[in-house]
């Protein structure tokens, strides 16, 4: 079985989720965190437009007729997730750039909007809706292509939770790496807590999906076997469950309980958030590849 959708699509699914997750992180930090979480909102806003732009570029390269891509935006096919998803992503990218602009230091805001704070608030209230749409759309996209593994009804939820988790992790990573504004302890503590909860949620969703899949028809359950014991098992168990979920979760729990010696704190924060991103990428990878690998039985 040859693969029609390859790495480009994986990158697209991953980056769309990452951007949406970073956006939501920024929005919530801004709306509910106040002054104290200002840096979290700022980092989220600075990250958000970039991954998704990269994903869109990569997606364009993957098209058989890239110069025809404008056709996507001459129509809205309400039954095609790729059609309404492309519109959603277009708006998201556009608005995320505006949002970033509003977060720039004042002397960089050359356009002179009259009350940037009001606009910031409005956007921060609206963007989570759009972000949830963008993040779960990547799962609906696969749902609609009737392949045994992709019919899993929880796929959009899995992608959504994974998107939020990678979004939070990206903010943690940038906050930890930024030399001039080392995030304060309280910020990191809360973000780490949020991420740990999301990872636990993700584990539960994966578990439910496996149980639902294994008790489904022969085609679906054997598609899940490909994941669990078949050719994709090492990616699933080692790269996703081990490196992407269990280890970062363990590290985060230790951080939360202050079990990490001070001199190790920074490397541990950096590696746990990196591993979350790593795992999130391979979630998209394994679903995309194993989904095409397995077909229907008569």
């Amino acid at each position: 079985m040859e693969l029609t959708w390859g790495l480009m699509i994986v990158i697209y699914l991953f980056t769309a989720g990452l951007s949406a997750g970073a956006m939501v992180t920024s929005n919530f930090a801004f709306l509910y965190g106040g002054q104290e979480f200002e840096r979290v909102s700022r980092f989220g806003a600075y990250i958000s437009p970039f991954p998704i732009s990269l994903g869109l570029g990569v997606l364009l390269l993957d098209l058989g007729s890239p110069f025809n891509f404008y056709r996507l935006f001459l129509t809205l096919q309400v039954r095609s997730p790729m059609s309404y998803g492309s519109w959603a992503i277009l708006f998201f990218t556009f608005l995320s750039v505006i949002y970033l602009y509003l977060w720039l230091p004042e002397n960089y805001q050359v356009l002179g909007l009259r009350n940037p704070q009001t606009w910031k608030k409005r956007l921060a209230k609206f963007m989570p809706v759009l972000s949830v749409g963008v993040a779960s759309y990547t799962g609906v996209l696969l749902n609609a292509a009737v392949r045994p593994l992709w019919t899993a009804p929880l796929l959009p939820v899995l992608f959504l939770v994974s998107a939020l988790s990678t979004g939070v992790a990206s903010v943690i990573l940038i906050a930890a790496l930024s030399p001039w504004q080392r995030a304060r302890h309280r910020e990191l503590h809360l973000l780490t807590k949020a991420d740990a909860i999301l990872i636990i949620l993700e584990c539960l969703i994966i578990l439910t999906m496996i149980v639902m899949g294994r008790t489904n028809s022969l085609s679906v359950s054997s598609a899940f076997s490909n994941l669990l014991i078949g050719p994709f098992a090492w990616i699933f168990w080692l790269l996703i469950v081990g490196l992407g979920l269990i280890i970062p979760l363990a590290l985060e729990l230790m951080e939360l309980k202050d079990k990490i010696p001070v001199k190790w704190a920074l490397p541990v924060t950096i590696s746990s958030s990196f591993l979350v991103l790593f795992g999130g990428f391979f979630v998209r990878f394994v679903i995309t590849y194993a989904g095409q690998w397995s077909g229907w039985f008569n």
Partner: protein, 191 residues
């Protein structure tokens, strides 16, 4: 009643000569390495000396509820009023969504055109009153095509007379290829 174009394929009459694949390639300029139609083998079944092998020709099923058409973001993939599922090349962006969405793997990305490619039911031949190239060329008369809603068509008569099966019915695509495995000594007359 509306026209509903489809195929009847009689596996007992297929000798795996692959003439249909050659005819399709010649008629439709299908690039080497890709195919719009195929003949699949069941492999050798049973115990010696009672062994048999079934050949199952196929192509796009021109489904009643084609997922390929549903997912297409530009409206390039369409189901015509006569039931034939086609790709309008000028609208296709080559996103390959329809290709992953087809449960029968009946589509492929055409490396020459950059578009999704598939069986067109040889509609260019139908317009001239001819049969699809694969049907016309079939040595064993295993492949039959026509209007499934017309009781006087060959395909309808065959379906009325013999037990048939469809592929992956449970997926809900409503495939319009009906397979007959029984021996069919004579092909009925029809339009």
């Amino acid at each position: 009643m509306a026209v509903r174009m489809g195929f009847v394929i009689i596996t007992s009459r297929c000798i795996d000569c692959d003439a249909c694949m050659v005819a399709c390639r010649a008629e439709n300029d299908v690039p080497l390495g890709n195919k719009r139609n195929w003949v699949k083998s069941s492999g050798v079944q049973g115990q010696f000396p009672n062994v048999k092998e079934i050949f199952q020709p196929g192509n796009c099923m021109h489904c009643e509820h084609p997922p390929c058409v549903k997912v297409c973001p530009t409206g390039a993939s369409q189901k015509r009023v006569d039931g034939i599922v086609i790709v309008e090349n000028s609208k296709c962006i080559g996103c390959k969504y329809c290709i992953v969405a087809c449960p029968y793997d009946a589509r492929f990305p055409n490396p020459v055109t950059g578009k999704a490619d598939k069986c067109t039911f040889c509609w260019q031949r139908l317009e001239q009153g001819l049969e699809p190239a694969c049907v016309q060329t079939c040595l064993g008369k295993s492949r039959q095509a026509g209007d499934l809603n017309d009781p006087n068509s060959i395909v309808s008569k065959l379906i009325a007379k013999y037990p048939t099966r469809q592929l992956l019915k449970q997926v809900g695509t409503g495939p319009n290829i009906y397979y007959i495995d029984e021996a069919v000594p004579e092909i009925p007359q029809g339009e």
